[in-house]
């Protein structure tokens, strides 16, 4: 019961009432890139990487949070969708620090991975970057917010999984920032050593204090268009 039929990339598929487009797509082997979405966390639709084209809808829709409906006709990789996704990634990269090029976390960085997948190289426009001092006084956690893409995974993971609410979003718009307390650097008082946030961060905005000799190379950043 509750079966819903729809079309993804011209193929008929079925899903259950309450499932999102993303869930049905993945079940059927269609890969839609995501960034702010994590199966374990409540979806917020923030990064817009997962957008798809739904017939009859004026704009693209976020697949990670949009429930399926009967008869939906969806394109997940049309030129329109891919162009839009590339812009989303290009915007994130444009705001990212220059040292991204030599970042030792490149191999685990989801942003770099997505950029490589979508063939996004150096941004074609300029965007101001955020310079935040590295917060490394806590024995549990290092934050390098210059590399934060505001996916809010850490906020939700800490709240929903670790039940702690150490992080909050503060400020607005371009100045949005994930904060601790009244925008103070994380120290050992505020946080226990559970690693949940570190494990969900798609970049290295959150990481464990570095141990020696762990540097690897990741997927190349495409330098030419």
């Amino acid at each position: 019961m509750g079966d819903i039929t729809l079309t993804i990339n011209d193929a008929p598929v079925t899903g259950q009432d309450g499932m999102t487009i993303l869930e049905v797509a993945r079940e059927n082997g269609v890969d839609i890139p995501t960034m702010c979405y994590l199966k374990e966390l409540s979806p917020i639709g923030a990064c817009r990487l997962c957008v798809v084209e739904v017939e009859g809808s004026r704009n693209l829709v976020g697949s990670c949070h949009t429930p399926i409906t009967e008869g939906m006709v969806i394109q997940t990789h049309s030129p329109r969708v891919v162009t839009a996704r590339r812009m989303v990634v290009e915007l994130m990269m444009a705001n990212h620090p220059d040292n991204c090029l030599v970042c030792d976390a490149a191999n685990q960085c989801e942003l770099r991975q997505v950029a490589a997948d979508l063939d996004v190289g150096l941004p074609s426009f300029k965007l101001k970057k955020h310079y935040y001092p590295i917060e490394d006084i806590s024995p549990y956690l290092v934050r390098d917010l210059g590399k934060c893409i505001l996916c809010q995974r850490c906020i939700r993971a800490c709240d929903e999984i670790a039940k702690q609410k150490v992080f909050n979003l503060a400020y607005r718009g371009f100045d949005c920032k994930v904060i601790v307390d009244l925008d103070q650097p994380v120290d050992k008082e505020v946080c226990r050593d559970c690693d949940v946030c570190v494990s969900v961060c798609p970049t290295v905005a959150l990481r464990k204090p570095k141990k020696q000799g762990e540097e690897k190379k990741g997927p190349p950043l495409i330098l030419s268009q």
Binding site: P43, I44, G45, A46, C47, R48, L49, V51, N59, L60, G62, H65, T66, P67, R80, T83, A84, M87, V88, L91, M92, A94, N95, S124, F125, K126, L127, K128, I149, L150, L169, Y171, R172, G173, F174, D175, C176
Partner: protein, 639 residues
């Protein structure tokens, strides 16, 4: 006033209020809302004092009302029963008004409105073209009644629609009437109101909420403010009817922070309605119980977006969330919630009292009823106008708005504020309705109409709107948080003369993607002003980028100020005012501006007396300068 327990009691109360009213009594109606900004309070005090001095307290009523609409003429007063209209008056005029008009019944000539077209004097409000061309439905009480006095509202059929609904209609019939009326939401998106109510009524659960969106963030729109200030009970009554139709017990009115008078008046209205039992338990003896709470905004445009609004009512950061689920399924605290705009609720009573058929005869095939527009910018008659949907843009701007001041040329009108687009001259005959405007890249929006003339720069205005939306972006989603910034930076560069080949293409492509991907409509509509100005004024963009010239002479970096030798009278006013000591001259000497020192502040232009008009702002022209000041008498004066 005691409790009103039944519909009959309401009727007889209304009767007794009307009987006590003397239609021939002299009444001075003073706009005490927006006009306060121009001294309405001093005028009222002067009236009070003068009337006491002349011993007229029993013969004359001084009534503080809401906005009369013709705000360009602020402060305004109207004197009943003759309907004499005085405009731009000061406290000093009051003695004359009392002596000549209130006592002798004559008209004070100098305070009468002069038709700018014919030059004729128009002493009566109902003859003024600005008012004549309007159809006042929602604004029927605005400027007429004292909004802080519930008796005034009741006397004009106030709460009669509620009483009709509670005694003669089922909730289903109410929804049907609203559906058949064709009313569409006035908050911008134009969603059919009846259908929205039906969804909320059908939603599962006993606890439901009602919300009235009075955030009115579109800079340049002030109709919701006028309704909340000038006729707050009409909003409450609309909400009560919705509460009955949908089945809710609690409602919220969310009012924008910058509207203190609106907050004050709606609070007074709520406590008066509570006092007489029109809010509270078992209203008019029916099963309807309803209470209304006020929430004041704290300064965030995005909170007008309904999901953000709900977050803000809950006391949180006003960040939008994905829809579905729509508020009608899951709104405040996860409960079904119906949200409508102030003006939408204020339309309801007329639909109930006059019938859905009456309502649907006003307007066009797809857009019914009247709409209030806020005329502002470069038009003579700035103010609020209520007209049937579907009148041509031209009529609103030229017949009602009185055209463009200073003999300048119309350029375009921005409809729908920062989410909308402009209507250029070529489309002036377009009917103002949802579909027609959308077809040309503009929108109806909340009803702001900002008129622009030839001295408005298309690139600058696009940059302006984007700087607004960019600074109001909540920051949640990538395209709006970052994309709007890239667009703004690009536009800023162009207005500063640093535009490069390819900028237009970059703007267009970013605009398209941002529209397509943003989470809420703040982001997805913010490129509209840019796209529509590029569409209609591409040559202006190109002049900025390629020739480093601002055709409208607005963008400072591309402009220079200079003093016309044949006009300058050597009065030294500009020389003294210039903050940068960039002006050289002397008494009766033709002044000159040292371009190297000039910081392009525009002070000289604004202070040079209009009868001389000797300072010019130019762009892309060679600026001729004299070597040094020369006596005024040596220059041949041009015409």
């Amino acid at each position: 006033m005691g409790k009103i327990r039944t519909a009959d009691e309401l009727d007889s109360l209304r009767q007794s209020i009307i009987e006590k009213l003397d239609p021939n009594k002299t009444c001075v109606r003073i706009c005490m809302t927006g006009c306060r900004a121009y001294g309405a309070e001093e005028i009222r005090d002067a009236f009070d004092e003068e009337i006491k001095r002349k011993g007229l307290e029993d013969k004359v009523e001084i009534r503080e009302t809401g906005c009369h609409g013709f705000c360009a003429r602020a402060p305004v007063v109207v004197i009943d029963p003759q309907d004499i209209f005085y405009q731009q008056i000061t406290a000093d005029d009051v003695v004359d008004i009392v002596d000549k008009t209130l006592i002798e019944g004559d008209i004070v000539d100098r305070l009468v409105y002069v038709d700018p077209v014919t030059g004729g004097k128009i002493p009566f409000a109902h003859d003024v073209p600005f008012y004549k061309e309007q159809t006042k439905n929602v604004l029927r009480n605005c400027g007429i009644i004292d909004p802080t006095n519930i008796s005034h509202y009741i006397a004009r059929d106030g709460y009669a629609a509620l009483s009709k609904v509670l005694t003669n209609m089922t909730p289903e019939q109410v929804i049907e009437a609203v559906e058949r009326s064709g009313l569409r939401g006035r908050g911008g998106a134009g969603f059919p109101t009846g259908r929205k109510w039906r969804l909320a009524r059908a939603a599962a659960g006993d606890t439901k909420y009602l919300v009235c969106n009075g955030d009115e963030g579109d800079p340049g729109a002030f109709m919701d403010r006028a309704v909340l200030e000038g006729d707050p009970h009409s909003v409450l009554e609309g909400m009560l009817i919705a509460a009955y139709a949908i089945g809710t017990k609690v409602g919220y009115v969310y009012v924008r922070a910058e509207y203190p008078i609106a907050v004050e008046h709606i609070k007074i209205a709520i406590s008066q309605a509570e006092e007489v039992g029109l809010l509270g338990k078992n209203i008019l003896g029916s099963k309807l119980s309803f209470e209304i709470r006020i929430k004041e905004g704290a300064g965030a445009f995005v909170c007008g977006e309904e999901t953000a609004l709900l977050m803000s009512i809950e006391g949180k950061r006003g960040m939008p969330r994905p829809r579905p689920p729509f508020p009608s399924e899951s709104g405040l605290w996860g409960k079904p919630t119906n949200n409508n705009n102030v003006e939408t609720y204020a339309n309801i009573t007329s639909i109930i009292l006059n019938g859905a058929d009456w309502y649907s005869r006003i307007g066009t095939e797809t857009s019914k009823g009247t709409k209030i527009f806020a005329l502002a910018g470069k038009t003579n008659n700035t103010g609020l106008v209520e007209v049937p949907i579907g009148i041509p843009v031209r009529k609103a701007i030229f017949d009602i708005g009185g055209g463009i001041p200073d003999g300048r040329k119309f350029k375009a009108v921005q409809m729908g504020g920062p989410s909308g687009g402009c209507v250029p001259e070529a489309h002036l005959d377009l009917p103002i309705d949802y579909g027609s405007l959308e077809a040309i890249g503009s929108i109806m929006g909340s009803g702001g109409m900002i008129v622009m003339d030839e001295t408005t720069c298309a690139v600058d205005i696009a940059r302006y709107f984007l700087s607004f939306t960019q600074s109001e972006s909540c920051g949640k989603c990538t395209p709006c948080r970052f994309g709007s910034k890239v667009m703004l930076d690009t536009l800023t560069r162009i207005t500063q003369g640093q535009g490069v080949e390819g900028d237009l293409e970059l703007l267009e492509s970013l605009a398209q993607q941002i529209k397509d991907t943003s989470l809420c409509q703040l982001g997805s509509t913010c490129p509209n002003p840019v796209l529509s100005t590029i569409k209609y004024f591409r040559d202006e963009y190109e002049a900025h980028i390629k020739e480093k010239r601002c055709p409208a002479a607005v963008c400072d970096a591309l402009c220079s100020y200079y003093i016309l030798p044949d006009k300058c009278q050597g009065c030294m006013i500009c020389l003294r005012a210039c903050p940068s000591e960039a002006i050289e001259g002397g008494k009766r000497m033709v002044h000159i501006i040292n371009q190297g020192k000039c910081i392009k502040c525009g002070t000289c232009l604004s202070v040079c007396p209009a009868r001389f008009s000797a300072v010019a702002k130019v762009s892309g022209e060679h600026v001729p300068t004299l070597e040094e000041p020369i006596p005024v008498s040596t220059v041949t004066k041009g015409g």
